[in-house]
């Protein structure tokens, strides 16, 4: 079973992150490097990627002729029971994806254990960050047989 471990943050959190000390960056990068190597060596790593900062995030929708319409932000919500979309800046509360790790494991419990390891990546001063990691199963193929 494949799971994706998602690390997200608000813009404020990204700003805070850019102000870490060099030692803190290095400690965190070394931790993640070692963890990914361990996952690869144990045959469970499928992919691990970091994403560019949200400053350059753009939202693209198809125009009437199918050409890309690129905007700087979008506000989504539900009004009168139907979803609505408006152009505009991203709200402060929006969570951006910072990076993800895809693993191929035997069970959800094993995925949770690995997510806890990612969550414990060191923050400032080497203190475990205890970051929230969203764990989602990647959909697999068809079931054996339907009733």
């Amino acid at each position: 079973m494949k799971y994706i471990l998602l690390l997200t943050g608000t813009k404020a959190e990204f700003d805070w992150y850019t102000k870490w000390s060099p030692q803190d960056f290095e400690a965190q990068a070394a931790f993640m490097h070692a963890l990914h190597k361990e996952l690869k060596d144990s045959g469970v790593l499928v992919a691990a990627e970091g994403l560019a900062f949200p400053d350059e995030a753009r939202v693209v929708r198809a125009g009437a002729d199918g050409s890309p319409v690129v905007t700087n932000g979008i506000v989504r919500g539900v009004k009168d029971g139907a979803p609505f979309v408006t152009d505009g800046v991203f709200p402060e509360s929006k969570e951006f994806l910072a990076g993800y790790t895809i693993i191929d494991v035997e069970s959800a419990e094993q995925a949770y254990k690995i997510a806890a390891r990612v969550s414990a990546a060191p923050g400032p001063g080497g203190v475990p960050g205890n970051m929230p990691i969203e764990v989602r199963q990647i959909m697999n193929g068809a079931p054996e047989e339907l009733p």
């Binding site: 079973m1 144990s42 469970v44 790593l45 193929g141």
Partner: protein, 414 residues
């Protein structure tokens, strides 16, 4: 210019490679080196045989060449490290395989026992089996499981290490463990088959190949163990299930349940083979879960139309299967069969009794079956609720599409 390898030689080599590998591992106890040696011997065969013809005993030829390669390998290793083990030296000094090693024993089963070692996780055992016994390349296995090649290579090398560290030598398991170890082999073959069979439809034929590889290997085990009724049962189950493959998905890749499949698309030849096999196997006694599942598949496959299905017989078979294994999915299927025989109310009653099973309480199949039975019972409103609940919980994309479509169809009629 490189000539494409004669297909019959390629097929022959595929069949012989695990036998030779098993023999070399048994003699030299070094799996990784044995694999290299057999690989080199296969290459030599692929070059030589098309030109000079296939030798009269191709397996002996392959084993002999692999033995010589092993001896060369050990000598050069020994020379370099100067700390050769007695075992390796002894093996190197007697490089010629004995008559028994080349002529009589088929070591494929021994190799399977090693690859499906109890110390391995299912994923590792599957990868090692496909590599060592199936002869698939690491890249092919990685593609089939949609993971990077480097990850799959690590999984395989760790599996080998794990078998080595377990201290259980490469040899047939002792008689008291044999039955249990054979069950482990069958389970791995069953998982490989399902991995191929349950993959979503689409252009990715690689995964379908996994089912056929599992069937090829199970056919070999059946040939080596013709009197084992569960081996025969598993092989029949694969034949009877795979026969429905083409009818299982529609043009858009959507799942089609058994009841609505176009039975003209079922593979008649394969059904006949499966039915014949399970029919001669069941009367032999010592009936096990694979035989019962094959028997159920046979009853489905033998019905010309869905409404001709012999549900009382399926219900009886699920009753037997339920007494034999504590699999919650068997109980769910038993409830469906009961509903088909005694009416939806009976099926729903059985589902209620399963609520206490923690393995099922939050399982999407529980909701999916309940939705199906509620629909049969004429309660579309509740059925829609449970179809949607099941859709939210399933990990399968085609199944989620199917469940949402069921919910949509019913709610339009409300």
């Amino acid at each position: 210019m490189e000539q494409p390898l004669d297909i019959s030689i390629e097929r022959l080599l595929r069949e012989l490679r695990p036998q030779a590998l098993g023999t070399v591992v048994r003699r030299f106890k070094d799996f990784a080196a044995a694999e290299d040696a057999v690989q080199e011997a296969s290459l030599a065969a692929a070059m030589k045989w098309p030109r000079e013809g296939i030798p009269s005993n191709p397996r002996a030829w392959l084993t002999q060449v692999a033995f010589r390669r092993m001896a060369d390998h050990i000598r050069s290793e020994s020379a370099r490290r100067r700390r050769e083990s007695e075992l390796a030296l002894e093996a190197a000094n007697t490089t010629e395989p004995t008559a028994i090693e080349t002529a009589q024993e088929d070591d494929t089963l021994g190799l399977l026992f090693m690859c499906c070692h109890p110390a391995l996780t299912p994923a590792s055992a599957i990868a090692l089996t496909l590599r060592a016994v199936g002869g698939l390349t690491t890249a092919e296995i990685a593609r089939a499981f949609l993971v990077p090649e480097a990850t799959m290579a690590q999984r395989i090398s760790r599996a080998k290490q794990c078998v080595k560290n377990s201290g259980i030598p490469f040899q047939p398991p002792p008689p008291e463990e044999r039955a249990q170890r054979l069950r482990a082999v069958l389970h791995v073959l069953y998982l490989i088959f399902n991995e191929g069979y349950t993959s979503s439809a689409g252009p990715d034929l690689r995964r379908e190949d996994l089912s056929h590889e599992a069937m090829r290997l199970t056919r070999i085990v059946h040939r080596l163990q013709p009197n084992d009724t569960e081996v025969a049962g598993l092989f029949a189950l694969m034949l009877l299930t795979d026969a429905r493959r083409l009818a299982r998905t529609g043009a858009g890749g959507e799942l089609i349940p058994l009841a609505r499949q176009d039975r003209a698309l079922w593979d008649k030849r394969q059904i006949a083979e499966g039915v014949a096999l399970i029919s001669i196997t069941l009367p032999k006694g010592s009936v096990g879960p694979y035989q019962l599942q094959a028997a159920i598949a046979a009853v489905h496959d033998e019905a010309a139309r869905s409404e001709d299905t012999d549900w009382p017989q399926i219900l009886a078979l699920y009753g037997l299967l339920g007494r034999m294994s504590d699999n919650p999915m068997v109980r769910l299927n038993h409830a469906i069969a009961a509903a088909m025989v005694h009416g939806a109310a009976k099926g729903l009653e059985l589902l209620d009794a399963l609520k206490a099973d923690a393995r099922l309480a939050n399982h999407h199949r529980m909701d999916a079956v309940r939705a199906h039975l509620l629909e049969l019972a004429g309660d579309p409103e509740a059925a829609v609720r449970h179809y949607r609940a099941a859709a939210g919980k399933t990990g399968s994309l085609p199944e989620r599409n199917y469940l949402l479509t069921q919910a949509a169809r019913l709610s339009r009629e409300l």
